[in-house]
């Protein structure tokens, strides 16, 4: 697994280098030489090209522990910055290949057609992420007000210690969880409907928080970002106090690239 590769340090230490791959871009990309990537100190970033496509890479020590917050931010920041300007196929964090030849032959050459057509499809587009979270007090009041059974259970536990009302609490919590799931589905649909006119692709993500209202990836034309912001902003205004809405992006199209399953 740990193939010894680059031989620049041969003779000095056992430590070889490996190539960290951030993503795939068209090969006519021009990189700012100041750009830095993962590692400590942050490694410089270069391209490995093959025909029309290129990989964004950094050479890193093979024994470098990756995964510090700085590494994660560097990976995302680099790809998101690129995605604002050109099509990018983002790789999941942690893609490390033995050497530059392997990047060229086994990653780029082996997948050239797929990568090229995927990049074509992303031309002019970037991912945006709508993340919204319920205000706990507001959503709980809303939910309990809509359901008599929950109102009764709320009365039953009022002011009593957890140990004395465990069953009521379990029942109430379960009903609330279900109600929030239903609200989440409805509110996510609400966002999707509002975005329909923008000619976007959508990919719903799993919620990452109990009170998440919307977690939706949107692939949109970068040129229509203003419209996107307006639409999401309208909803945020409507939901003010009830749901806190964030809009992230442009990001690399993490949710719209698919790894082909090997046959």
């Amino acid at each position: 697994m740990t193939t010894e590769t680059e031989t620049q340090t041969d003779g000095e230490t056992e430590t070889g280098t490996a190539v960290y791959v951030y993503g795939i871009v068209p090969s006519d990309v021009e990189l700012d030489p100041e750009i830095r990537g993962v590692g400590d100190p942050p490694a410089s970033v270069s391209t490995v090209a093959s025909g029309p496509i290129a990989a964004l890479v950094s050479e890193i020590p093979q024994d470098a522990p990756l995964g510090r917050p700085e590494d994660l931010s560097a990976h995302a920041g680099l790809l998101d910055a690129a995605a604002a300007e050109l099509p990018v196929l983002p790789l999941r964090f942690g893609a490390v290949v033995s050497d530059v030849d392997a990047v060229k032959e086994e990653l780029l050459d082996a997948n050239q057609d797929d990568f090229t057509s995927a990049l074509d499809q992303l031309e002019g587009k970037a991912e945006y992420l709508v993340r919204a979270r319920y205000d706990e007090r507001v959503i709980l009041r809303e939910i309990i007000g809509e359901n008599d059974r929950m109102g009764q259970l709320a009365d039953a536990i009022r002011g009593k210690p957890e140990e004395a009302t465990r069953n009521e609490r379990m029942a109430l919590g379960e009903l609330i969880t279900q109600a929030i799931e239903a609200k989440r589905a409805a509110d996510t649909q609400r966002v999707a409907d509002a975005l329909a006119d923008l000619d976007v692709e959508l990919a719903a993500r799993q919620p990452t928080h109990d009170e998440e209202a919307v977690h939706l990836a949107v692939l949109a034309e970068v040129e229509r970002q203003d419209e996107l912001e307006d639409v999401v902003g309208e909803l945020a205004k409507e939901w003010e106090g009830r749901v806190e809405v964030r809009l992230l992006g442009p990001l690399a199209a993490y949710d719209f690239v698919v790894t082909r399953t090997p046959e």
């Binding site: 024994d63 910055a81 964090f93 942690g94 490390v96 002011g159 957890e162 205004k237």
Partner: protein, 132 residues
């Protein structure tokens, strides 16, 4: 290359950060994006740990109880808190209907200890306090 994106609409409840926070980054780059073939990949220290699915939200007992407590806190702000006598009076409805084993039963036992009643009364544990 810069990512700076200026908010265009201006306010109205929409939070429009110019870059993703670490939590957003983690949700995205550890879970999404292309995965390259395992045979091309080289193992690096720490990576395996990192790619463990970081997501939560499998509805759980903890979640239920947390929501219930949140409701309880909501109500407390509206109404007067009940005192100890009420608490003891209502205890029976709480302890008897356990439908989940383990923690719940343990809680029930603890409750019986506290109140010093139930059929286990004949077998005092010494740590129970008499409730009434």
């Amino acid at each position: 290359m810069t990512t700076a994106v200026q908010p265009s609409g201006g306010g109205g409840g929409l939070d429009r950060p110019s870059s993703s926070g670490l939590a957003d980054v983690i949700d995205t780059i550890l879970d999404k994006g292309l995965v390259i073939d395992a045979y091309v990949r080289v193992s690096l220290v720490g990576i395996e740990l990192l790619t463990i699915d970081a997501r939560v939200v499998v509805a759980s007992v903890d979640t239920y109880l947390r929501f219930a407590e949140a409701v309880n806190r909501l109500d407390i702000s509206d109404t007067e808190q009940k005192g100890l006598p009420d608490l003891l009076e209502d205890m029976n409805s709480g302890g008897a209907k356990a439908k989940t084993r383990g923690a719940l039963e343990a809680a029930g036992d603890k409750l019986r200890d506290i109140l010093g009643e139930d059929e286990e009364e004949e077998e005092p544990t010494g740590r129970g306090r008499k409730g009434r």
